[in-house]
């Protein structure tokens, strides 16, 4: 439970800090949280100390073998103390560091969230869960680095850090998954126990590489080290916390944690060790030439992490001891150094070592602390840095046998470099105070310095009496990692005169020499940046990669994607033909076609039909009307074919639909731009266009041929046993109608019809909504030329006048006279629908046509002044009627749409069978009428409207809206 609270409380605190109005008391909250954590952890030592393990489990996703497990052993305990101990100090420090102008609540909120995630990483007893918290540290550190997000460098640093570490995190996830699949469990203990199995497995190398990628990116190891210096844009407390003690330590923590599983192979040796050595050299060398204090510290951090990584790479048990020990030491002195740098920055307003001089005079105490700390960093005896570095030297000797010296040489070089940059850092305190400081420095408030004092004190204590100070805790950690393999070691300042001691001395003296030489040769104190041209600038590489990725993606999209319509349609059609050919084996074969079974009259019919179709295809661009007429021709032929092949209902419907569609398109034509074929333009069609047309032509031909072929195959095949017959058998007996098709529509498959009328209504509504806001193109507003030539007497009359007493009077009267008869016909078709061709749909269309004709002849204004149609109501009622008819069946305990037949005895008509399907069909009728009328009327209104187009006002509704 205490274990759980360690993780939970920081996150809770983070939320509180963000949203409670604490008025600058967030620091106390944060400090309290961290302090609680520290105390709780120390208390947990009872369980986790000397070889014990604390565990907390909660079931989460058992199906995937994933539970929430917290696990604290020696190593975890040590890191937990580190995280929270330094956490407390950092909070205290930040309390004084942050300026009142900054949004402090957010700072502490993020800080606590980060602390929680970091603890999560350390305490996870389950690899997947570890990855979860791992990514969380990346995210929270992103927020912390970008805290001053009005600054461009902060944004860049944050993005860089997140991109690199998150990418690493994904690799880590993959690696851990592979590891889990090798072991068969994600539980840490199971994995730790299965070391030999893992190393033997063929998937070991990929797993190792992926996990290494995760760890190396996080710990800023070569070649991923470049993000850390950019992350220095963060407020100094953040750097002191994340980049000394916690975030960057996560990587090495993971390597230590998995050391028993992954280490001990040449791959491990070369990948981890190699990365470490290169990093420690690059880092320490670069550190010398930084002008910015934090830059120097960042690179020195990189090199020290390099040391740790290299130690782990070496792979001897003693090296692991050294690694863990150095983690502690580095955390203490580096955190204090960052804080000292922060104080200098805070007091003088500058971090530029070319400006800063002789600060010792004004900041004596801080100066002393900083000098001691940097001495520890340089590995001066009697300080903690010295001991672990000495252990490192000792280990390097062992690498590759007694006569292999390269590792030791590298180590000594690193030692010299680190002495040099330590000296450069100390340089800011000596000499005489420089004048051009932005602020007049003075010692910081007591408690701002306190954390530094504590840490420096620790450096001394550990440096002088290592065995009695950290000894036991260190050994706990080591045991928890190495188990039986724990070597005998002796933490002591003095091991007598031996090789490592000699190496340290060489490094110290060499470092001093190097520094003074650089000073004379390059006046080091005034330079920023490495003297030798140094190509490998990770930052710029990163930027250019990012830029290339986005622009490259854009370029790629132009090839693998499109936003134009034609290519998309082409793709659909091509895919439709290609996919069957690609997937289906064997394709059905065509059987021999004999000309004898060509029905001549049908052939003649289709000669016309096909001709019309091709003609339409030919003419559609320049002669729209012609094309429309031709298509109409094809439609007629189609409907005749239906009639011929014994589908009267289809024929009727097709005919009516044909009529209405034609009228619709005619109404639409008026709004299209004039397009006159220019002969000379035809002459020089650009080559690309001709190619495209050629391609389309081929596609069209192939498509047509394919359709023809497949139709022929179907027609010549022997039909299988189908459900169609059932309907013929049961239409009359149970559907109560002899027109099987109609019974199908209103009964067997009434549910389809149901959806179908919905579609009609939806479209009508959409059309209406669209046309209410319709703006005609300016040039198509005035009366077209055809209608405005002087000879035509009708020009001066409104449509109404034409119909009342103009030359349209006769037809006008005639159609008006016709109206009731057409209605009668509609009713007739409706009534007989159930037994003979006809039905609600056809009837509806006929009925609609009756009114369309009125509109066409007498004009919109006249019609609407004489009769009020309410298409919306028609549709609504239609839908409701149909639905209620269906629901009615429920009352009889039957499913939706079940048809019933009522037998009535009416005075005049005698016996009447009234099937419920009748009402359903009525609904269909109503919807069809309503929808069709609404569409047509909405279109018709445009022509009235556009004449009284007010300038600038797009959304004209007619005075009398269609209701």
């Amino acid at each position: 439970m205490t274990l759980l609270s360690l993780i939970l409380i920081p996150f809770v605190g983070s939320v509180l800090a963000a949203f409670l109005p604490l008025r600058g008391r967030e620091a106390w909250l944060a400090g309290g949280v961290a302090l609680y954590g520290l105390i709780a952890t120390i208390y947990l030592y009872l369980g986790a100390g000397n070889g014990g393990v604390e565990r907390y489990e909660a079931e989460w996703l058992p199906q995937l073998g994933l539970d929430f497990v917290l696990r604290m052993d020696g190593l975890a305990w040590l890191f937990a103390v580190l995280v929270q101990g330094i956490g407390v100090l950092v909070v205290l420090y930040a309390r004084y560091y942050m300026s009142p102008k900054d949004p402090v609540p957010r700072f502490f909120s993020f800080l606590l969230a980060f602390m929680g995630s970091m603890l999560g990483v350390v305490l996870s007893g389950n690899l997947i869960q570890l990855v979860v918290f791992w990514e969380l540290t990346s995210l929270t550190s992103f927020l912390l680095i970008g805290y001053w997000h009005h600054r461009i460098d902060a944004r860049r640093g944050a993005r860089m850090a997140l991109t690199v570490t998150a990418a690493g995190g994904l690799c880590l996830l993959a690696g851990v998954l592979i590891l889990g699949s090798i072991v068969g469990s994600y539980d840490l203990e199971a994995v730790l126990a299965a070391g030999d199995r893992v190393r033997a497995h063929h998937a070991y190398l990929p797993a190792l590489i992926l996990i290494a990628l995760g760890a190396l990116t996080k710990s800023a190891q070569f070649p991923f080290h470049f993000w850390l210096p950019h992350a220095m844009a963060a407020p100094t407390p953040v750097s002191a916390y994340l980049h000394s003690a916690t975030m960057v330590k996560a990587g090495v923590f993971l390597l230590i944690r998995l050391w028993p599983v992954l280490s001990g192979t040449p791959e491990w040796h070369w990948i981890i060790g190699g990365a470490g050595v290169i990093t420690l050299l690059i880092g320490s060398f670069n550190a010398i030439f930084q002008a910015d204090i934090k830059g120097l510290l960042a690179y020195s951090t990189i090199s020290h992490l390099g040391i740790i990584t290299a130690l782990l790479g070496i792979g001897t048990p003693l090296a692991v001891v050294a690694a863990i020990f150095h983690v502690l030491n580095h955390a203490t002195f580096k955190a204090s150094l960052f804080m000292a740098a922060g104080i200098v920055d805070h007091e003088t307003g500058s971090r530029d070592m070319r400006v800063l001089r002789g600060l010792y005079r004004v900041l004596p105490i801080t100066g002393t602390l900083a000098i001691v700390a940097s001495a520890a960093m340089a590995g001066v005896p009697l300080l903690n840095g010295f001991i672990s570095k000495e252990m490192f030297f000792a280990e390097t000797l062992g690498v590759g046998g007694p006569d292999e010296w390269w590792m030791s040489t590298a180590a000594i070089a690193m030692g010299m470099f680190s002495v040099a940059y330590a000296l450069r850092f100390i340089g800011i305190f000596v000499g005489r105070l420089s004048e051009e400081l932005p602020k007049q420095p003075q010692e910081p408030p007591r408690w701002m310095r306190f954390p530094v004092e504590v840490l420096v004190l620790l450096c001394l204590v550990v440096g002088i009496i290592p065995g009695r100070s950290v000894g036991p805790f260190l050994s706990d950690a080591v045991v928890s990692v190495l188990g039986e393999a724990t070597p005998a070691y002796n933490l002591a300042v003095w091991h007598g005169f031996n090789m490592p001691l000699l190496m340290s001395m060489v490094a110290l003296l060499g470092g001093i020499v190097l520094y003074s030489w650089l000073q004379l040769r390059f006046e080091l104190r005034n330079r920023s940046g490495v003297p030798v041209r140094f190509e490998l600038n990770g930052g710029h590489i990163y930027d250019s990669i990012m830029l290339r990725m986005s622009t490259g993606a854009g370029a790629l999209m132009r090839h693998i994607g499109t936003q134009r319509l034609q290519p998309q349609l082409l793709l659909i059609i091509v895919m439709m033909m290609a996919l069957p050919v690609a997937l289906v084996r064997p394709l059905p074969g065509l059987d021999t076609m004999r000309l004898t079974d060509v029905d001549l009259s049908l052939a003649a019919l289709w000669l016309i039909g096909g001709g019309c179709a091709i003609g339409a295809a030919w003419q559609a661009k320049y002669h729209r009307l012609a094309a429309l007429i031709l298509v109409g021709g094809t439609g007629i032929i189609t409907s005749m074919t239906f009639l011929w092949l014994s589908a009267p209902d289809l024929a009727l419907t097709q005919l009516m639909v044909e009529t209405v569609t034609t009228v619709l398109i005619l109404l639409g034509l008026r709004w299209l731009p004039p397009r006159i074929a220019l002969e000379d333009m035809q002459a020089r069609v650009p080559r690309r266009v001709r190619l495209r047309r050629g391609r389309d032509l081929i596609v069209a031909l192939v498509g047509g041929a394919a359709m023809a072929a497949i139709s022929f195959v179907v027609l010549s095949g022997t039909p299988s046993e189908r459900i169609g017959d059932f309907f013929v058998l049961h239409a009359l007996s149970e559907g109560g109608g002899s027109n099987v098709v109609n019974v199908l529509l209103v009964d067997f498959r009434g549910f389809d019809t149901f959806g179908e009328i919905t579609v009609l209504s939806i479209v009508a509504l959409t059309v209406y909504a669209l046309l209410r806001r319709f703006r005609p193109a300016p040039e198509s507003i005035e009366i077209p030329a055809q209608r405005s030539n002087g000879i035509d007497p009708a020009v001066k009359q409104t449509p109404t006048e034409q119909a009342e007493h103009g030359y349209l009077m006769v037809p006008g009267v005639y159609v008006r006279f016709l109206l009731p008869f057409i209605v009668l016909v509609a009713v007739y078709f409706f009534m007989r629908g159930h037994n003979l061709p006809g039905g609600g749909f056809v009837a509806g269309l006929i009925f609609a046509v009756a009114f369309i004709v009125q509109y066409m002849v007498a004009g919109t204004a006249w019609v609407e002044s004489h009769l009020r149609l309410r298409p919306h109501k028609w549709m609504a009622w239609g839908l409701v009627t149909a639905a209620l008819t269906g629901i009615g069946a429920w009352l009889f305990g039957h499913p939706f749409l079940t048809s019933h037949t009522a037998h009535l005895r009416l005075p005049l008509l005698g016996d009447v069978h009234l099937p419920s399907a009748f009402f359903f069909d009525l609904g269909v009728f109503l919807v069809v009428v309503g929808a069709t009328m609404l569409i047509l009327v909405a279109l018709a209104h445009q022509s009235i409207r556009s004449h009284r187009q007010l300038p600038g006002d797009g959304r004209l509704a007619p005075e009398r809206d269609i209701r």
């Binding site: 295809a617 650009p686 058998l729 099987v740 703006r775």
Partner: protein
């Protein structure tokens, strides 16, 4: 008969494809009309082709399914026709709407740069 119908469908569909791939909205709408004729016929022929055997069970006694055409495809075609009608109308309105707003009758609502 089969051959004729098959060819007819092919011709309609082919010219439909050609038109649908054209850049002008009007061409596309005509193309859609032609294609939908083709598809309607196609569905229709999935039943057996019979001349003068409409699926009307007028005579009393149990009707003989094999004597009549398969009514199901006809029902499907009817639904398809209606839906086709609706969507055509919609596209038509889109066509003139887009012409009104964008000033062009190109299918992309803007003249292509090529």
């Amino acid at each position: 008969m089969n051959l004729v119908i098959a060819l007819a469908i092919g011709v309609l569909f082919g010219s439909g494809i050609w038109l649908v791939l054209r850049p002008r909205t009007f061409q596309v709408i005509i193309g859609l009309l032609l294609m939908s004729y083709a598809v309607n016929l196609f569905i229709f022929i999935m039943g057996r082709l019979k001349v003068d055997r409409p699926p009307l069970t007028l005579g009393d006694g149990l009707p003989d399914p094999t004597a009549l055409t398969d009514p199901l495809p006809q029902a499907l075609v009817l639904t398809a026709i209606v839906i086709g009608f609706a969507t055509t109308a919609l596209y038509l309105v889109m066509m003139i709407g887009s012409r009104g707003v964008t000033g062009t009758d190109h299918v992309d609502g803007r003249e292509s740069e090529e």
